[in-house]
Subunit: 578 residues, 2 copies
């Protein structure tokens, strides 16, 4: 089956929960009229469903093959990417001065969800392009921007992010790849692993952003620089010229996202790959975080997309698969969507996906506000909110994506385990999202360490205060307040214990992130339920919010217990006893 | 890495939680001395780790291939199966009168866990052999038993279970395969799908137990008979003779368990496959349930095995992978097992696996009691306990296996997503266990419908009373009592509402099963913690139990809320709105 973008829910979240009209009216976003927004969503939906989605499963089956240094992409991928470039999609949220359309990130987020839902593997290419463009816009000097940004914005050149080495994964301080000064440029030597879209021929050129040890720098992360290393050095006209000294050594055999080439890259086998410094001499980590933070929200969005796709496939199967009689009388077998446990699975998938979508779009709206709002205090507050929620978007939305995709398999019964059905692919594909761009454990540590403890709870307390100020009604209000109390209590405990026993406190980091995700998700589901309107859409939103409050929000109780109670056992259990 | 059977924990659970000495002293189990028990566990551990485990990953990579009607197994599988047969393992728990060793099922359960942990795909062959033998022992006439049981007990012939057809999965009443009388035998015509080990050449013969429509029977499940359909009809000497009219049409491409051939089987393409009736003319379902219930506990045990394997692999990686500095000072990167979130993952894996093992072995011990205890009332009570816990063993232990295997991937970070690492295989393999032998949704419905509502809560209340009678100390007691109260409250709610609104009640079936699994698991973890002794092993058991009480048991709160609160939303959400 194909994919249909959930345009009704996307529009609802954009307008009711993110106030896109207000975002679009911020200085610089003048183009984003309601008419244009609609047109963009409709056009993206068409490309996603008609071009990207149909090659998702064949892409998984064919995979990417490295032959004589050339990566052969699955059939149709190059054409699908070209259609995306031709549509001008790559520069949607990039400022017009760099060749983009200058539209709000909030709107672009909805569009990007469609790419990921349609084809998670191919969607990685735009995801990395975006991160690279943002890093170059924020940190590169004007000459470098002029030479590379127009092609990247157009998407005719693609980009990669080169961080990991075998000994340097979560700990980038261990990076050994090094840059050697060569006049006003550098020569890069080293090997990088897990380079997504590190080699392919879908684009004229590939721009690698490589984190490497800067000449004469201190050890650790403070001695790292970021270097722009193109596959082909631009010639005098700015077109791809001489081949740089870099190559794809091999491709990984992965559990999923087979349509995305994950390369081992060798830089400088001969004279050294020519690279250009981005940002400060030892400012590699700062540049990389610009790229990384964009990519983390992008990966959270991948979670939303693949969850939506898995949900649609499961609903489709549940409607058409006839099996067993209904519980309340009825002599004939019925479509399994009529069985309570199947409905429970589908509604869980739906509720989690909607909550994840709401959190992600909301964070994007905060990012637009942080960037464009005329009031400095408003910008600063929004910026803190984005920082606080980025790890939540990345980790919570990707955790639920694996859970939703697993429920999708389960709805299919035995057919779910057969690869031809397609449900299993979503689960395999989704499973990378809690891992890359910083594992979800790293996200949880980031939330607890950099976002909660560092500012002594200021950002979290600001969030809690805003959530507490939202008035809900009835049973939902009770459930939400209880969950919010759990977040408050867990926050107080962490602030109290974090300074005394870091190990015990951080053993609860994952639970704290889950708890935050549930509460923010619940808040947005509640706001959705409270939105004015009495169409069927509004009524279904209310039922989904009720279901979320009844089945998901009460989990905060156990998470609070784990945060405040389980760390000591984790600490005491001896390493040798595992 | 290979696999080391967790013999210390196995012995502890067998002796302390199952009272194996008492089980072994029941009439008929006279051979199971402590010395023999130890010898058996050690021998099984050796075969599992040295022969079965090393071909687990190659088996996944090579898979099974059908060529000209012959299934080619992965390298080493036939030899590994032969070593298992030569060791006499197939008849471990089969009565001596049928050629087995006549040992308690409790002990055999520990042994079988090792096969599944070492090689989940190959372990399916013994699992199905056991179910078939039990069905034949319970239902076949003496002549049929004499002709087939000795070979099946030895394992030189293997067995399969033929239920599913494309239109008949969970609903066996839709079966179309039919039996036509031919003298004192039958001719079978039809197609069966998902036939595990349906074709291979590891054994001299394959005995298919086929559920089919009996001649002149009523429609639905009441018209089904069970037929023994051998691949080769035994000749006058009882050896494989004429080839029967059946064949493997194709093998499925599955997400996992690639080393296990999942066949589409065609019966009776020509004159009809010759079959022999097992049990009553229309008693197919009863026979099948004997086989199925054994297989359900076997699949729960698969969950335990693959979880243990995933845990061992993750611990091994976490000990050797050096990355990042510790939180509390320390200038050098450390093995990741020192990081709190990694320890949290490992302890979660360990606690869930130990709880699942305890539940499974405990249920096996109850089955031994139900079979052999001299007191009729004790037998009956144990039998009810087995019936009650069979769906819990099957579903809870397989759900945690997928969760544990997923944590195993996460511990590996990026390496977890690379197939060569092996962590991903456990996750893919584990994912079938919540599906086959009755999906976990079917198990949940079974628990709520046949086990709770049918006897008006008698079995569950008996369980709750026994659990409430167990005295625990300190914080564990508080956590356990709270969880038990949640089970009691949910049970009362279900008993009250089940008769009024079946759809609403059954929307909570999965949550009710999860809740029961947590409480019974918590009870056994608590009993383990309370066992006399102060060795390091005992102290680690206590820490694991505390961790379970702090991080897992509090989840009963949300499950109770989902059972009592979410069914209405599931019910009201319109089918067309998904």
């Amino acid at each position: 089956m194909t994919y249909a973008a959930p345009l009704d829910d996307m529009r609802f979240v954009l307008n009711e929960l993110c106030d896109l009209p207000a975002i679009a009216s911020l200085p610089g976003y003048g183009e984003a009229t309601p008419e244009l927004t609609d047109q963009i969503l409709n056009e993206a939906a068409r490309l996603a469903s008609q071009v990207w989605a149909p090659i998702n499963q064949t892409g998984d089956r064919e995979g990417c093959v490295l032959e004589n240094g050339v990566v052969r992409m699955p059939e149709g991928f190059a054409e699908a990417y070209r259609a995306y470039v031709d549509g001008g999609w790559n520069g949607l949220s990039i400022d017009t001065e760099h060749g983009g359309m200058g539209l709000p990130a909030t709107l672009a987020t909805a569009v990007q969800e469609m790419w990921h839902a349609a084809n998670l593997a191919l969607g990685l290419c735009p995801l990395l392009n975006l991160g690279a463009m943002q890093a170059l816009i924020a940190h590169a000097d004007p000459a470098l921007q002029a030479a590379y940004l127009p092609k990247l914005t157009a998407g005719t050149w693609t980009a990669t992010m080169n961080l990991t080495e075998p000994q340097a994964g979560s700990d980038l301080g261990e990076i050994k790849t090094r840059a050697v000064r060569d006049g006003d440029r550098f020569r890069i030597h080293g090997q990088k692993i897990y380079i997504t879209f590190g080699e392919h021929e879908m684009a004229e050129n590939i721009i690698h952003l490589v984190l490497a040890r800067a000449p004469d720098g201190p050890p650790g992360t403070k001695g790292l620089g970021l270097y722009l290393v193109p596959k082909f050095l631009p010639d005098a006209d700015g077109n791809p010229g001489v081949r740089n000294d870099l190559r794809c050594v091999s491709l990984e055999h992965k559990l999923g996202i087979h349509g995305s080439p994950t390369a081992v890259m060798a830089y400088g086998d001969n004279d050294g790959a020519i690279g250009f410094q981005v940002g400060d001499e030892f400012g590699g980590i700062a540049c990389m975080f610009t790229m990384m933070n964009a990519a983390r929200i992008g990966v959270g969005l991948q979670g939303v997309g693949v969850a939506e796709r898995a949900y649609q496939r499961a609903v489709d199967y549940a409607r058409t698969r006839v099996q067993s009689r209904p519980l309340n009388g009825g002599k004939q077998p019925v479509a399994i969507i009529q069985h309570p446990d199947v409905r429970r699975m589908l509604l869980t998938m739906r509720a989690l996906t909607e909550a994840a979508r709401a959190i992600t779009y909301y964070t994007a709206a905060q990012a637009d506000t942080a960037r464009r709002h005329p009031d400095a205090a408003t910008r600063e507050r929004a910026d803190h909110r984005v920082e606080l929620l980025t790890p939540v978007v990345k980790a919570w939305c990707t955790d639920i994506s694996t859970e939703v995709a697993s429920l999708g398999i389960q709805v299919h019964g035995g057919m779910g385990y057969i690869e031809e059905t397609g449900a299993a692919q979503h689960w395999r594909d989704a499973r990378i999202t809690p891992i890359y761009e910083g594992t979800n454990g790293i996200q949880a540590n980031d939330l607890l360490g950099r976002k909660l403890l560092r500012d002594k709870g200021a950002s979290v307390q600001d969030l809690i205060a805003e959530l507490r100020g939202t008035v809900f009604a009835g049973d939902f209000a009770t459930a939400f307040t209880t969950a919010l109390d759990d977040l408050q209590a867990a926050t107080s405990w962490v602030l109290d214990h974090g300074t005394r026993d870091l190990d015990e406190t951080f053993a609860g980091a994952n639970a704290y992130l889950q708890l935050t995700g549930l509460v923010v998700g619940g808040w947005l589901m509640g706001r959705a339920a409270a939105a004015a309107g009495d169409t069927p859409f509004h009524r279904h939103k209310r039922l989904t919010a009720d279901f979320f409050a009844q089945s998901q929000l009460p989990q905060t109780h156990a998470l609070r217990a784990a945060i405040t109670g389980a760390g000591a056992s984790v600490n005491q259990f001896p390493e040798a006893a595992y």
